[in-house]
Symmetry: C2
Subunit: 160 residues, 2 copies
DNA sequence: CGAATAATTGACACGTCATCTCATGTACTG
DNA sequence: CAGTACATGAGATGACGTGTCAATTATTCG
């Protein structure tokens, strides 16, 4: 397995924990999930993506070919992979759920509206703020949602 | 326009700009929108909500009674109200779009998973972070999404 | 006031995304 | 290699949202 950093995120250090298909398959088996050919195909397709992708995109990609899979299977498998930390489920600029490769360490993303690239970053100023707000409002904070949107260098200069 | 200062004055002062139905109606007229009975009903219903609500909820609420309105009209009117700052469109913990009363000033929310209450707060630590990240990653930041989820005082103690 | 006109409405069709069901298929265990 | 619990996927269902367009209506103007 590539880079697993169990220690808390430091400054702006970006460490992306990514699984290879084989590792992801192993992780699933280890958890008692059976390894089927649709699952293999979905894992492979998911980890091949270079940008955030929607479940529906994977449905299309795996609807034919080796390890052909149906919609239900794709949705189910993505959910499992997210629960295992092989993928993370985040929201795009429109609030639609998309998946990205990577463990569910505390991380947010810079998301390009142009090309959809998602640059992860660890720095999170929320913890402190959340604690303060929790105290002030008698709230018990469970989590937060933070994504930053914009245009990446390439899209700024390059084609529309 | 009425500016309400939610009582206890404190550090992160929150000033919620809320419109009364009459004010919202006036604002629409001023912009050249015609005032119809469905629109009046939608405005009234929207401003009566005490928690974030979905468009579909309002569709149900206004599908009968005085100023009965259809789905299209509700969606259209909510969009207009949001563009006028009478409502804001935010995302709930599941990433689903919901509306809350209030101007589109830069504001985020503490959202209770129990009762759905949305407590707005102004403090936003993102600006600085965004600027830094933008510089470091050659990104041009256009906006961000930040909501904090948890359980409010009432839901912590009270009923499930 | 009573047209004239342009905005508005809403029933309905459509599209997308997602979930559920359940008969059939199959990976794993012993 | 047989038994069984798990997994699959076609299809139904449904939530949510958008687009269309003939009929309606607020507003303007003579």
């Amino acid at each position: 397995m590539v880079t697993i950093n169990t220690s808390p995120p430091r400054e702006n250090e970006i460490d992306v924990t990514e699984y290879s298909p084989a590792e992801a398959i192993a992780a699933m088996s280890r958890q008692g999930y059976r390894m089927t050919s649709p699952r293999r195909a979905i894992i492979t397709a998911a980890l091949r993506q270079e940008r955030p992708f929607t479940a529906e995109q994977l449905v299309t990609e795996t609807s034919s070919g080796d390890g052909e899979s149906g919609r239900s299977t794709v949705y189910r498998t993505l959910e499992i992979l997210a629960s295992l930390g092989v993928l993370s489920r985040i929201l795009d600029a429109s609030g639609r759920p998309v998946y990205v490769a990577g463990a569910p360490v505390h991380r947010h993303h810079l998301i390009c509206s142009g090309c959809g690239a998602a640059v992860p970053f660890n720095a999170c100023p929320i913890e402190d703020l959340a604690a303060t707000l929790a105290r002030e409002n008698d709230f018990e904070v469970h989590g937060h949602l933070l994504e930053i949107f914009g245009t990446c260098g390439g899209c700024k200069s390059g084609a529309a």
